[in-house]
Amino acid sequence: MRPETLKGHLDGMLLAALEPAPRHGYAIMEVLRDGSGGQFDLPTGTVYPALHRLERAGLIKAAWSEAGGRRRRVYQLTPAGRRALDAERGTWRDFSAAVTALLEPAPRPVTS
Protein backbone atom coordinates (compact mmCIF):
# COMPACT_ATOMS: atom_id res chain seq x y z
CA MET A 1 0.00 0.00 0.00
CA ARG A 2 1.34 3.43 -0.86
CA PRO A 3 2.27 5.72 2.04
CA GLU A 4 -0.14 8.42 0.75
CA THR A 5 -3.08 6.04 1.20
CA LEU A 6 -2.13 5.73 4.82
CA LYS A 7 -1.48 9.36 5.54
CA GLY A 8 -4.86 10.61 6.72
CA HIS A 9 -5.35 7.61 8.97
CA LEU A 10 -1.93 7.30 10.53
CA ASP A 11 -2.83 9.34 13.64
CA GLY A 12 -5.82 7.17 14.43
CA MET A 13 -3.85 3.97 13.97
CA LEU A 14 -1.01 5.20 16.16
CA LEU A 15 -3.56 5.98 18.88
CA ALA A 16 -5.15 2.56 18.42
CA ALA A 17 -1.76 0.86 18.75
CA LEU A 18 -1.40 2.52 22.15
CA GLU A 19 -4.89 1.67 23.38
CA PRO A 20 -4.11 -1.71 24.98
CA ALA A 21 -0.86 -0.67 26.62
CA PRO A 22 1.91 1.96 26.58
CA ARG A 23 4.60 1.19 23.99
CA HIS A 24 7.83 2.58 22.62
CA GLY A 25 8.28 3.72 19.03
CA TYR A 26 9.57 0.52 17.51
CA ALA A 27 6.90 -1.59 19.22
CA ILE A 28 4.24 0.76 17.82
CA MET A 29 5.72 0.27 14.37
CA GLU A 30 5.58 -3.51 14.82
CA VAL A 31 1.92 -3.30 15.86
CA LEU A 32 1.13 -1.34 12.68
CA ARG A 33 3.05 -3.73 10.45
CA ASP A 34 1.97 -7.00 12.03
CA GLY A 35 -1.60 -5.84 12.69
CA SER A 36 -2.05 -4.91 9.03
CA GLY A 37 -0.57 -8.16 7.75
CA GLY A 38 2.41 -6.23 6.36
CA GLN A 39 0.20 -3.84 4.36
CA PHE A 40 1.32 -0.78 6.31
CA ASP A 41 5.03 -0.74 5.75
CA LEU A 42 5.87 2.93 5.96
CA PRO A 43 9.43 4.07 6.75
CA THR A 44 9.90 3.42 10.45
CA GLY A 45 11.77 6.70 10.85
CA THR A 46 8.63 8.66 10.01
CA VAL A 47 6.62 7.09 12.83
CA TYR A 48 8.65 9.04 15.41
CA PRO A 49 7.86 12.55 14.12
CA ALA A 50 4.19 11.53 13.93
CA LEU A 51 4.34 10.44 17.58
CA HIS A 52 5.94 13.75 18.53
CA ARG A 53 3.13 15.59 16.76
CA LEU A 54 0.51 13.63 18.69
CA GLU A 55 2.42 14.34 21.88
CA ARG A 56 2.41 18.08 21.22
CA ALA A 57 -1.30 17.86 20.56
CA GLY A 58 -1.72 16.35 24.03
CA LEU A 59 -3.17 13.08 22.69
CA ILE A 60 -0.30 10.96 23.98
CA LYS A 61 2.41 11.52 26.55
CA ALA A 62 5.94 10.18 26.61
CA ALA A 63 8.37 9.21 29.34
CA TRP A 64 11.90 7.84 29.11
CA SER A 65 12.25 4.38 30.57
CA GLU A 66 15.14 1.98 30.77
CA ALA A 67 14.81 -1.71 29.99
CA GLY A 68 17.41 -4.25 28.87
CA GLY A 69 20.13 -1.60 29.05
CA ARG A 70 18.36 0.54 26.44
CA ARG A 71 16.75 3.91 27.08
CA ARG A 72 13.45 4.23 25.26
CA ARG A 73 10.69 6.81 25.02
CA VAL A 74 7.50 5.05 26.02
CA TYR A 75 4.20 6.55 24.87
CA GLN A 76 0.78 6.26 26.42
CA LEU A 77 -2.65 7.62 25.59
CA THR A 78 -3.95 10.64 27.48
CA PRO A 79 -7.70 11.03 28.22
CA ALA A 80 -7.85 13.46 25.26
CA GLY A 81 -6.16 10.80 23.13
CA ARG A 82 -8.79 8.22 24.11
CA ARG A 83 -11.55 10.63 23.13
CA ALA A 84 -9.81 11.37 19.81
CA LEU A 85 -9.51 7.64 19.14
CA ASP A 86 -13.22 7.10 19.82
CA ALA A 87 -14.09 9.95 17.49
CA GLU A 88 -11.75 8.58 14.81
CA ARG A 89 -13.38 5.15 15.11
CA GLY A 90 -16.86 6.55 14.68
CA THR A 91 -15.84 8.58 11.64
CA TRP A 92 -14.08 5.60 10.09
CA ARG A 93 -17.07 3.28 10.61
CA ASP A 94 -19.43 5.69 8.89
CA PHE A 95 -16.97 6.35 6.10
CA SER A 96 -16.06 2.73 5.43
CA ALA A 97 -19.72 1.65 5.56
CA ALA A 98 -20.59 4.29 2.97
CA VAL A 99 -17.62 3.43 0.70
CA THR A 100 -18.30 -0.29 0.98
CA ALA A 101 -21.96 0.25 0.11
CA LEU A 102 -20.98 2.21 -2.99
CA LEU A 103 -18.02 0.17 -4.19
CA GLU A 104 -19.27 -3.38 -3.67
CA PRO A 105 -20.95 -4.75 -6.83
CA ALA A 106 -23.76 -6.73 -5.18
CA PRO A 107 -25.72 -5.78 -2.08
CA ARG A 108 -24.40 -7.72 0.85
CA PRO A 109 -23.89 -7.22 4.58
CA VAL A 110 -21.49 -4.40 5.39
CA THR A 111 -18.34 -5.48 7.12
CA SER A 112 -15.97 -3.03 8.75
Binding site: H24, G25, Y26, A27, M29, E30, R33, D34, L42, P43, T44, G45, T46, Y48, P49, A50, H52, R53, R56, A57, G58, L59, A67, G68, G69, R70, R71, R72, R73
Partner: protein, 242 residues
Protein backbone atom coordinates in the same frame (compact mmCIF):
# COMPACT_ATOMS: atom_id res chain seq x y z
CA UNK B 1 8.99 -10.64 12.34
CA UNK B 2 9.54 -11.68 15.92
CA UNK B 3 9.53 -9.23 18.77
CA UNK B 4 12.98 -7.82 19.55
CA UNK B 5 14.58 -9.61 22.44
CA UNK B 6 16.48 -7.63 25.04
CA UNK B 7 20.05 -8.52 25.86
CA UNK B 8 21.34 -9.42 22.39
CA UNK B 9 25.05 -9.19 21.73
CA UNK B 10 26.07 -5.55 21.20
CA UNK B 11 26.37 -4.52 17.55
CA UNK B 12 29.90 -4.52 16.10
CA UNK B 13 31.82 -1.42 15.01
CA UNK B 14 30.63 -1.71 11.41
CA UNK B 15 26.94 -1.68 12.39
CA UNK B 16 27.55 1.04 14.97
CA UNK B 17 29.11 3.15 12.25
CA UNK B 18 26.08 2.58 9.99
CA UNK B 19 23.71 3.64 12.78
CA UNK B 20 25.83 6.66 13.72
CA UNK B 21 26.17 7.97 10.19
CA UNK B 22 22.42 7.50 9.59
CA UNK B 23 21.65 9.48 12.76
CA UNK B 24 24.16 12.16 11.76
CA UNK B 25 22.43 12.50 8.39
CA UNK B 26 19.01 12.84 10.02
CA UNK B 27 20.07 15.46 12.55
CA UNK B 28 22.29 17.56 10.28
CA UNK B 29 20.49 20.87 9.94
CA UNK B 30 17.61 20.03 12.28
CA UNK B 31 16.34 23.11 14.14
CA UNK B 32 15.86 23.34 17.89
CA UNK B 33 17.96 23.23 21.01
CA UNK B 34 20.87 20.81 21.41
CA UNK B 35 18.75 19.04 24.02
CA UNK B 36 15.76 18.60 21.72
CA UNK B 37 17.99 17.21 18.96
CA UNK B 38 19.81 14.90 21.38
CA UNK B 39 16.44 13.55 22.48
CA UNK B 40 15.51 12.83 18.84
CA UNK B 41 18.85 11.08 18.30
CA UNK B 42 18.49 8.96 21.47
CA UNK B 43 14.98 7.89 20.53
CA UNK B 44 15.89 7.01 16.94
CA UNK B 45 19.02 5.17 18.09
CA UNK B 46 16.98 3.02 20.47
CA UNK B 47 14.56 2.29 17.63
CA UNK B 48 17.38 1.36 15.25
CA UNK B 49 18.91 -0.97 17.86
CA UNK B 50 15.46 -2.56 18.37
CA UNK B 51 15.23 -3.08 14.61
CA UNK B 52 18.73 -4.58 14.49
CA UNK B 53 17.76 -6.98 17.29
CA UNK B 54 14.68 -8.00 15.34
CA UNK B 55 16.65 -8.66 12.15
CA UNK B 56 19.30 -10.60 14.04
CA UNK B 57 16.68 -12.82 15.64
CA UNK B 58 15.48 -13.42 12.10
CA UNK B 59 18.94 -14.80 11.28
CA UNK B 60 20.82 -11.88 9.69
CA UNK B 61 24.44 -11.10 10.55
CA UNK B 62 25.20 -8.00 12.61
CA UNK B 63 26.12 -5.95 9.56
CA UNK B 64 23.22 -7.17 7.41
CA UNK B 65 20.86 -6.42 10.31
CA UNK B 66 22.23 -2.88 10.64
CA UNK B 67 21.89 -2.37 6.88
CA UNK B 68 18.30 -3.64 6.96
CA UNK B 69 17.42 -1.49 9.99
CA UNK B 70 18.79 1.66 8.37
CA UNK B 71 16.89 1.04 5.14
CA UNK B 72 13.72 0.19 7.09
CA UNK B 73 13.91 3.58 8.82
CA UNK B 74 13.81 5.30 5.45
CA UNK B 75 15.51 8.17 3.66
CA UNK B 76 17.25 10.37 6.29
CA UNK B 77 16.17 13.51 4.47
CA UNK B 78 12.52 12.45 4.62
CA UNK B 79 12.75 11.61 8.32
CA UNK B 80 14.47 14.93 9.06
CA UNK B 81 11.81 16.74 7.03
CA UNK B 82 9.09 15.13 9.12
CA UNK B 83 10.77 16.21 12.37
CA UNK B 84 11.41 19.75 11.20
CA UNK B 85 8.00 21.42 11.68
CA UNK B 86 7.65 20.18 15.24
CA UNK B 87 11.15 21.18 16.23
CA UNK B 88 10.75 24.59 14.58
CA UNK B 89 7.53 25.15 16.52
CA UNK B 90 9.11 24.07 19.83
CA UNK B 91 12.06 26.33 19.14
CA UNK B 92 9.78 29.28 18.35
CA UNK B 93 7.84 28.67 21.55
CA UNK B 94 10.99 28.51 23.65
CA UNK B 95 12.33 31.75 22.14
CA UNK B 96 9.01 33.56 22.62
CA UNK B 97 8.52 32.34 26.21
CA UNK B 98 12.10 33.34 27.10
CA UNK B 99 11.59 36.81 25.63
CA UNK B 100 8.29 37.26 27.48
CA UNK B 101 9.82 36.05 30.74
CA UNK B 102 13.07 38.07 30.60
CA UNK B 103 11.68 41.28 29.05
CA UNK B 104 10.14 42.65 32.27
CA UNK B 105 13.38 41.90 34.15
CA UNK B 106 15.41 43.99 31.72
CA UNK B 107 12.79 46.74 31.97
CA UNK B 108 13.06 46.64 35.76
CA UNK B 109 16.88 46.86 35.61
CA UNK B 110 16.74 49.96 33.41
CA UNK B 111 14.02 51.45 35.63
CA UNK B 112 16.19 50.84 38.67
CA UNK B 113 19.20 52.36 36.88
CA UNK B 114 17.18 55.47 35.96
CA UNK B 115 15.86 55.80 39.49
CA UNK B 116 19.28 55.28 41.08
CA UNK B 117 20.79 57.93 38.78
CA UNK B 118 17.96 60.31 39.52
CA UNK B 119 17.85 59.92 43.32
CA UNK B 120 21.37 58.80 44.16
CA UNK B 121 23.52 60.81 41.77
CA UNK B 122 21.52 63.91 40.93
CA UNK B 123 19.85 64.01 44.36
CA UNK B 124 16.66 65.19 42.73
CA UNK B 125 13.32 64.45 44.40
CA UNK B 126 11.32 61.70 42.68
CA UNK B 127 8.67 64.10 41.35
CA UNK B 128 11.16 66.42 39.67
CA UNK B 129 12.49 64.76 36.53
CA UNK B 130 15.26 66.36 34.52
CA UNK B 131 14.64 67.38 30.93
CA UNK B 132 14.36 64.68 28.31
CA UNK B 133 17.71 63.30 27.08
CA UNK B 134 18.86 64.32 23.59
CA UNK B 135 17.14 62.47 20.78
CA UNK B 136 14.42 61.11 23.03
CA UNK B 137 11.62 62.65 20.97
CA UNK B 138 12.51 60.18 18.23
CA UNK B 139 13.95 57.40 20.36
CA UNK B 140 11.11 57.00 22.86
CA UNK B 141 8.31 56.51 20.32
CA UNK B 142 10.56 54.20 18.29
CA UNK B 143 11.41 52.14 21.36
CA UNK B 144 7.74 52.02 22.38
CA UNK B 145 6.75 50.83 18.90
CA UNK B 146 9.52 48.20 18.83
CA UNK B 147 8.50 47.05 22.31
CA UNK B 148 4.84 46.77 21.30
CA UNK B 149 5.73 44.74 18.18
CA UNK B 150 8.01 42.52 20.27
CA UNK B 151 5.44 41.83 22.98
CA UNK B 152 2.61 41.11 20.56
CA UNK B 153 4.74 38.94 18.29
CA UNK B 154 6.04 36.96 21.26
CA UNK B 155 2.56 36.50 22.77
CA UNK B 156 1.25 35.48 19.34
CA UNK B 157 4.02 32.89 18.98
CA UNK B 158 3.21 31.49 22.42
CA UNK B 159 -0.49 31.35 21.56
CA UNK B 160 -0.10 29.49 18.25
CA UNK B 161 2.27 26.92 19.74
CA UNK B 162 -0.02 25.75 22.53
CA UNK B 163 -1.59 22.33 22.85
CA UNK B 164 -4.65 23.47 20.90
CA UNK B 165 -2.79 23.76 17.60
CA UNK B 166 -2.84 20.13 16.62
CA UNK B 167 -2.59 20.90 12.93
CA UNK B 168 0.93 22.09 12.49
CA UNK B 169 0.33 23.33 8.97
CA UNK B 170 -1.04 26.40 10.76
CA UNK B 171 1.65 27.03 13.36
CA UNK B 172 4.73 25.59 11.71
CA UNK B 173 5.43 28.55 9.46
CA UNK B 174 3.70 31.23 11.50
CA UNK B 175 5.28 30.58 14.90
CA UNK B 176 8.94 30.76 13.78
CA UNK B 177 8.16 33.96 11.87
CA UNK B 178 6.49 35.53 14.92
CA UNK B 179 9.31 34.42 17.21
CA UNK B 180 11.89 35.84 14.80
CA UNK B 181 10.02 39.18 14.71
CA UNK B 182 9.95 39.16 18.53
CA UNK B 183 13.68 38.39 18.67
CA UNK B 184 14.62 41.17 16.24
CA UNK B 185 12.16 43.51 17.99
CA UNK B 186 13.83 42.89 21.36
CA UNK B 187 17.18 43.48 19.70
CA UNK B 188 15.91 46.81 18.31
CA UNK B 189 14.68 47.91 21.76
CA UNK B 190 18.11 47.20 23.21
CA UNK B 191 19.85 49.05 20.39
CA UNK B 192 17.66 52.14 20.91
CA UNK B 193 18.38 52.05 24.65
CA UNK B 194 22.11 51.90 23.90
CA UNK B 195 21.85 54.88 21.55
CA UNK B 196 20.05 56.86 24.27
CA UNK B 197 22.63 55.76 26.82
CA UNK B 198 25.49 56.80 24.56
CA UNK B 199 23.86 60.21 24.06
CA UNK B 200 23.53 60.59 27.81
CA UNK B 201 27.14 59.55 28.41
CA UNK B 202 28.36 62.19 25.96
CA UNK B 203 26.02 65.00 27.04
CA UNK B 204 26.02 64.53 30.82
CA UNK B 205 28.35 61.71 31.87
CA UNK B 206 28.25 62.53 35.59
CA UNK B 207 24.50 62.04 35.92
CA UNK B 208 24.45 58.24 35.69
CA UNK B 209 24.74 55.81 38.59
CA UNK B 210 27.63 53.62 37.35
CA UNK B 211 26.82 50.26 38.93
CA UNK B 212 23.06 50.00 38.19
CA UNK B 213 23.58 51.34 34.65
CA UNK B 214 26.40 48.85 34.06
CA UNK B 215 24.25 45.96 35.30
CA UNK B 216 21.30 46.97 33.11
CA UNK B 217 23.60 47.54 30.12
CA UNK B 218 25.19 44.11 30.58
CA UNK B 219 21.76 42.47 30.75
CA UNK B 220 20.64 44.32 27.62
CA UNK B 221 23.83 43.41 25.78
CA UNK B 222 23.37 39.72 26.58
CA UNK B 223 19.72 39.85 25.57
CA UNK B 224 20.58 41.70 22.36
CA UNK B 225 23.12 39.05 21.38
CA UNK B 226 20.93 36.08 22.24
CA UNK B 227 17.77 37.61 20.75
CA UNK B 228 19.57 38.29 17.47
CA UNK B 229 20.87 34.71 17.32
CA UNK B 230 17.47 33.26 18.23
CA UNK B 231 15.79 35.41 15.59
CA UNK B 232 18.18 34.21 12.91
CA UNK B 233 17.74 30.60 13.94
CA UNK B 234 13.96 30.87 13.83
CA UNK B 235 14.17 32.38 10.34
CA UNK B 236 16.52 29.60 9.22
CA UNK B 237 14.19 26.94 10.68
CA UNK B 238 11.25 28.52 8.88
CA UNK B 239 13.15 28.67 5.60
CA UNK B 240 14.01 24.96 5.88
CA UNK B 241 10.31 23.97 6.06
CA UNK B 242 9.07 22.77 2.72
Amino acid sequence: MTRATAGMAPPGPASRHLVDSYLAEVTAGLPGSARARASVVDELRAGLLDAIDAYRSAGLTAEQAAQAAVSEFGDPGQVAGAFRPGLAVSQARRVAVTLVATGPLIGLLWGAAALASHLGIRHAPPWQWAGAPPGSLVAFPLAAAALAVTVWAALFAVAVTGHLTRWLAFGARLAPAAAAIAGFGAMTVDLIIFVLLAGRLVAAPGTLAPAPVAVAAAASLIRLTLARRAGRRCLAARAALT
